[in-house]
Structure formats: C-alpha cells, structure tokens
C-alpha cells in the first residue's frame, strides 16, 4: 500500500456546498442506471415481464370477444395498470435495498441531500418506465389492432408515462416506511389490488358503493383511467378531461413532497 495522502491536500479540492446540486442529482441517476445496465437479468426481466403480461391479456380478452364488447375500453387502462404495477415495485424495492445495505445512510453521510436522492431515483427509474411504457403501448396497438391516429397514441402515451413517473414517486414514498425488502412486500397488494378493483378499470367508479368512491381517488390509476377513457372515445382528445390530468399531476407532486419529507436522514 502506498501513501494516499502524499501529493494531495485540501487546497486541491473545491469543497461542495451544502445546497441542492443538479450535478449530484444526475450523478445519482447515472449510478442507478449503471447498476441497471450491469444487472442485465434484472433489466431484461423489467422489460420482458410487461411484455409477457400483455400477451396474457391478449389471450384473456380474446376469449371475451362478443357483440358490444369494446376491448379498447379495457385494454388501454389495463396497459396503464401494468406500467403502474411494475414501476412501483421496481423502484420501491431498489430504494429499500439501499436502506437495508446502508448505502443510503452512506450517501447522506457523504453529503448527498434528500431532494437529490429522491429526484435522482425518480429520473433514473422514469427512464426505465419510459421504455416500459413505449414497449407496452406498441405491443397493445399491434396485438389488439388499435386504430388510433398518431395524436391519440401520443396522448395515451403521455398519460401512461405520467402515471409511470408517479408510480415511481409512490414507490419512493412508501419505501420510506420499510427497513427491509420483506417489510415492503405487504405494501404491494395494499397499493396494487385496490387500484385494479376501485379505479374504474373493471367497474365504473360511480357504480361502486358511495363509501368506496372516495377510496378510489387514493390511487393514481383512477385519474389516469378517467383521462384514458375520454381519450379513446371517438373524437376524444387530451383536453376533454383536464381535471383528471391535473389530478394526476397534483397527485404526483403531493407524493413527491411526502417522499421527500418522510425520507429520514437519521434513525
């Protein structure tokens, strides 16, 4: 071992400021993406799993074909649900793993800030979610022969992508309450199952009992489904349901804020 201290002193360095740094944020994102690239099995499964699920959906909905059954009313929101499901799980588990392996506390001790960590993860996993959303939507369009004009496709993609980013933020927020991967697992059905049954994908929310309807609004999928249902109507457009889009955006901002507030620097 040679001496590490020779040839280097404090004067050589520029001490980082304690303020929020975009550079450190990008460093975190780059590191997460580098990890994803090195873990090829994880990356392959992250992209393959939604594809396999879409194939199952194809088999399922083909068996339900009949007069009056409009498959696109179900399949487009189902695609959104798949993205919500996978992005939530992947991000939540990754952050809990950082906490359990103490790399998260090491990041704090080294001077990374809460906002940088949250947004760094959000940026990295949103890039993965962007790819997942693109694959799922392309596959849905091809397998179910959806015949939308480009503008509608782009609008559907925007809504699904926004939902994916919010699901990442939701994963970050809820992972703050778990200290191990095992503790995170029970939150998966708690978050995912109500979003399937109560967000209006299978049964319209106004047909649910009155006391359940407010619960529907807890899931981001409720807002995404509302926007998507309007979009896929003949002559539908993104402007037809601004309220749901704004609801989705507000949901994302609130969850991000909660994620930042609840991320503990110290135990």
């Amino acid at each position: 071992m040679s001496s590490v201290t020779k040839g280097g002193n404090v004067g050589e360095m520029r001490r980082a400021s304690g303020r929020f740094s975009g550079k450190r944020l990008v460093t975190i994102s780059r590191r997460v993406l580098l990890q994803l690239r090195h873990d090829r099995l994880f990356l392959a499964l992250s992209l393959l799993a939604p594809v396999i699920m879409v194939l199952f959906l194809k088999v399922f909905f083909d068996s339900m074909k009949g007069p009056g059954f409009v498959v696109s009313h179900f399949i487009v929101p189902m695609g959104a649900f798949l993205i919500h499901f996978f992005t939530y799980i992947l991000c939540a588990i990754a952050l809990v793993r950082e906490r359990a392996h103490e790399t998260l506390s090491r990041m704090f001790v080294n001077g990374f800030r809460r906002g940088e960590i949250i947004l760094g993860f959000l940026l990295a996993y949103s890039l993965l979610a962007t790819l997942q959303s693109l694959i799922v939507l392309a596959l849905l369009g091809w397998l179910f022969e959806l015949s939308y004009v480009f503008e509608i496709y782009a609008s559907i993609y925007l809504v699904i992508w926004l939902l994916a980013v919010i699901s990442v933020a939701l994963g970050i927020f809820l992972s703050n309450f778990a200290h191990s991967e095992a503790q995170m697992i029970p939150t998966i059905p708690l978050v995912i199952l109500p979003s399937v049954f109560l967000s209006g994908i299978i049964v319209a929310v106004d047909k649910l009992p009155d006391w359940v309807q407010p619960i529907s609004r807890i899931s981001p999928l409720y807002y995404a489904n509302n926007a998507l249902q309007k979009l896929i109507l003949p002559n539908g457009s993104l402007g037809d349901d601004w309220a749901s889009l704004l609801g989705l955006l507000a949901y994302g901002l609130i969850v991000l804020m909660l994620g930042s507030v609840t991320l503990k620097e110290r135990d």
Partner: protein
C-alpha cells in the same frame, strides 16, 4: 502520544444518551478527542461503539446530550460537516453490481472534488485495489470489500475519519498496513476515531475508551490502562518457587528482590503482566459486581 495540533478538539461528547425504546444503548457518555490523534473505542459487541459512531457522523439521532465534531453539530451543521468527515460503516455499504472504481467515484462525486478520477486512482492504489478496479464488487472477498469501503471513506481527504471495526475480515499483513497508514494520517493532523474489539489494535491507539453496555468504563492512554493491571513475579530460590502479586512491578520489583539479596540461590525470575484483555475482563467483572450491589441495595 501525538498531541493535538492546536489544542482544539476533534470530537467532544457531553452526557450523550441514546435509547431504542426501553433499551438504553448509550448511558451518559463523556469523551474528548484531540485533533491529530488515534482514538480507539474498545468493547464487545453490543457495547454501544457503532451507535456512538453513527451519532457522531449524523446517521443516528441522540436521545439527549451534546455532540460536536470539529466544533460543529452533526445534526444542525450536518451539511458543513459532511465534507470534512469520512465514515467507514461496519457493513461494507457498497454497490455490489458496480466496479470498485465506480463505487469510489460515486462517493467522491458528492464532495465536488477537482480531478476526481485522479483522487479515485490514488485511493485505490493505496488500498491495493488498482488491479481489480474495473471488476464488479460482487466477486470481491470480505477483506477486499473492507479495503474498498476504506477507499470510499478516504477519497475526499477528510479531517476526521470514523472507522467502525475497519479491519474485520482483513488479513494480518494488510491490518498492519492499515494501522501504519492511520498513524501517518494522524501525524499529518488528521484524527482517527476507530472502534475495535481487538486488543492488539487497541494498543496502537493514542487514547482508548473501554466500553461496556453503553458506559465508558475507563478512558486513558493504553500505557496508563496497562498500569491498572497487576503483575505476578515468580522467583526460584534454593530450588523453591515463590510467587508474589504486585501492582506496578516497575516500581516494586527492586524492593521485592532486595530480600533475596540476589545471591546465587536465585536461579530464575519470571514476571507475568496482566494483558489488556485481562484488565478489560477485570473491569467488566468489577462493573457487574458494583451493579449487582447497587441493585441489591435498591431492593
């Protein structure tokens, strides 16, 4: 002992307490560590060493008491302090799926260092990891991970280095090199705050605090702590062995030997000093007895 550079303190702890529910992990700790020294925390598992280090680096809250590192609070001034301290946790806390180089580079990037690649290379060279710098950490042995973890803690040249059992799983040769470097750092004015449960390592510190169940039993130089022990002097005279227990053999041996006049009948003299381990065990036993007596008096 290496004295503080300017008499200022690197670490100051007053009446520090930490509880996890009903469990009191630290029970009113008072410590002072001078700059430019190696300060060792010696104690068994569960003594409170890691808890104390985690509080000092700002990873854990204190329940009460006052803590200062380089005159700054690890809680209120955390963002000023974090670029001046290095921390090597007990777990390696590394990214297994990244290379050694990427791991050090990532932690280095938090500090806004000029020429970060050069610094990373230097610190990897120091920890003898240059040949494996592009390999992913997942294939590293325990000792290599410890070296890499140390590299991550050293890369920004901190003024105070907190090391939580840094040589666990490291082979004796490398352990010796680690300690040689700790001494070099201390001579340059850096402060090393290190926890260990190895007696031979404890002897290499400038000052030592012996901990048990959240309490500092004693803090002093290793030399002074060693003087708390007893010695047994075995004298073989006229074919008979006589054993004498004395406190400080350096002072008392000449007096003891006077009665033998050191004539030709004295054939052999052997001195058995208490080891640090024996002294620590005696201290622990004494504390347990005192606690039992206190409890009995309460009843």
């Amino acid at each position: 002992m290496v004295n503080g550079v300017d008499g200022q303190l690197a670490v100051e702890i007053k009446s520090l307490r930490k509880s996890y529910g009903k469990l009191e992990a630290l029970k009113g700790i008072n410590l002072k560590v001078e700059k430019g020294t190696i300060f060792g925390l010696l104690g068994a598992n569960g003594a409170g060493k890691s808890t104390m280090i985690r509080i000092l680096v700002g990873s854990s809250d204190a329940s009460s008491g006052e803590v200062k590192v380089l005159g700054l609070s690890p809680f209120r001034d955390s963002h000023k302090l974090r670029h001046r301290i290095g921390y090597m946790p007990q777990l390696p806390a590394l990214y297994d799926d990244l290379s050694a180089f990427s791991n050090v580079q990532f932690f280095c990037s938090a500090h806004g260092i000029d020429n970060p690649k050069q610094r990373v290379k230097k610190v990897l060279e120091f920890t003898s990891l240059t040949a494996r710098q592009n390999d992913t950490v997942i294939g590293f042995s325990g000792g290599m991970k410890q070296r890499l973890s140390l590299a991550c803690a050293l890369v920004h040249q901190p003024d105070v280095l907190f090391l939580d059992e840094p040589t666990a799983g490291v082979d004796p040769k490398l352990r010796e090199q680690f300690w040689k470097h700790f001494r070099e750092l201390a001579q340059q004015g850096k402060t090393i705050f290190v926890s260990t449960h190895m007696m031979d390592e404890a002897m290499l510190c400038d000052r030592l605090a012996i901990m048990n169940q959240g309490v500092v039993l004693v803090q002093d130089t290793p030399k002074n702590i060693m003087q708390m022990g007893h010695s047994q002097v075995h004298v073989w005279s006229g074919g008979h062995e006589q054993v004498f227990a004395i406190e400080d053999y350096r002072a008392q041996l000449p007096i003891l030997l006077r009665k033998f006049n050191l004539d030709s009948s004295v054939t052999k003299i052997e001195i058995e000093e208490d080891t640090l381990e024996t002294i620590v065990l005696k201290l622990l036993k004494q504390t347990t007895v005192e606690e039992s007596e206190r409890e009995a008096n309460h009843v």
